[in-house]
Symmetry: C2
Subunit: 219 residues, 2 copies
């Protein structure tokens, strides 16, 4: 089971590191961390991430996973990246994204007519790549699995772990990573955070970010 994560500069690192922590433990899994060049990639957090493979040296993947982040908008116009995702995604058994990585899958044509999700602030843009936004922390349509924003990648990866290796394996991984969440607040989704808080976040950050993503998708 060859599982490849496709990275790019300014990836939101937890979109990737959460699922990696889960999927690396699947029996027989070999994980690859794939980027355009072998140089360490800057993430959004001051942490540089070291690829294990480039687009040229990556194995044929059974599962492709594309994380998101601030680097997605510029990455949408990187033909080498989009071609790699399209090529691997067309033959992989599982085609997946976390957060705004959905737009990279979409730009590669892999979400056309498919139910999908992404980070809450960008869901209305999914139709620009032909996807059908469907509420849910993890959305499945055939062999397409898309996760919501950032930390949704952990639920996403456990869902895929169960699909690939069965519930017992997924439950064991969940116990090993002590995933018994207890958030200190109820503010992790617009449905629970309250309209005032959501409005503040949109005006401070996400209106502008969604506009940039929209323009990058239209370009």
């Amino acid at each position: 089971m060859k599982i490849g994560f496709v990275l790019f500069p300014q990836v939101t690192q937890l979109d990737f590191t959460g699922p990696l922590q889960v999927l690396h433990r699947l029996p027989g899994a070999e994980t690859s961390i794939i980027a355009e060049t072998p140089a360490p990639l800057p993430s959004d957090c001051g942490l540089d991430l070291v690829p294990t493979h480039t687009f040229e040296t990556a194995p044929a993947l059974d599962m492709i996973c594309v994380p998101g982040g601030g680097g997605v908008a510029p990455a949408l116009s990187n033909p080498a990246l989009i071609d790699f995702i399209r090529e691997q995604g067309s033959s992989a058994d599982y085609v997946s994204s976390v957060c705004t990585g959905a737009f990279l899958l979409g730009r590669a044509g892999l979400l056309e007519g498919k139910k999908a999700t992404t980070h809450w602030a960008y869901t209305r843009l999914l139709d620009k790549v032909g996807a059908i936004y469907t509420p849910g922390r993890v959305v499945r349509d055939g062999n397409r699995f898309t996760g919501g924003g950032v930390t949704a990648g952990i639920d996403f990866a456990l869902t895929i772990a169960a699909e690939i290796s069965g519930d017992l394996v997924a439950r064991s991984i969940q116990l090993a990573i002590e995933y018994d969440p207890d958030p200190p607040f109820r503010s992790g989704h617009p449905d629970v955070a309250g309209p005032d808080h959501v409005a503040r976040m949109k005006s401070a950050v996400y209106d502008r970010n969604a506009q940039m993503m929209s323009e990058a998708l239209d370009a």
Copy 2:
């Protein structure tokens, strides 16, 4: 606010990357990723992590955070690492760990007589470093904050974010990282996973690992 994460080979990367994703967004925070040498460090997942500082070049920290993982047992006998944690921990405003990182804080003398927690499979060993095991996903004793296993680091970091920067900031970060968890199973802690499952995991993995940790703590 200088926040430093102390890494070592075979760190469980999500112990570190979860809190980093949260704490990097604190207003005015500067995060450092600190290791003995500047070389990329192998994590437990095939992902190499690039330090930003060494023990020599690290700034004086306002907060120190020590993650855990399979590399903790050998790291317990690394005097350079333990000395660094002791020195920085004795002057930092916040002294913290995730998962089995608690044993490195403890070896440095920073949990003596303090309430603390760690990954569920190792809690009974906390008294070997003078700590008082206290159930909880995040345990606070004065300026000591310890988190449970792996994913507890996200709850831990949001708790500290609220302490340092207030509830509104923590709630905003929680919304930004869409932390509205929805695990596919209830198996993330021994209290909910069921005794048979816990017994299987102990006999497959954790009896041996806890024995190795115990021996390293006695050495």
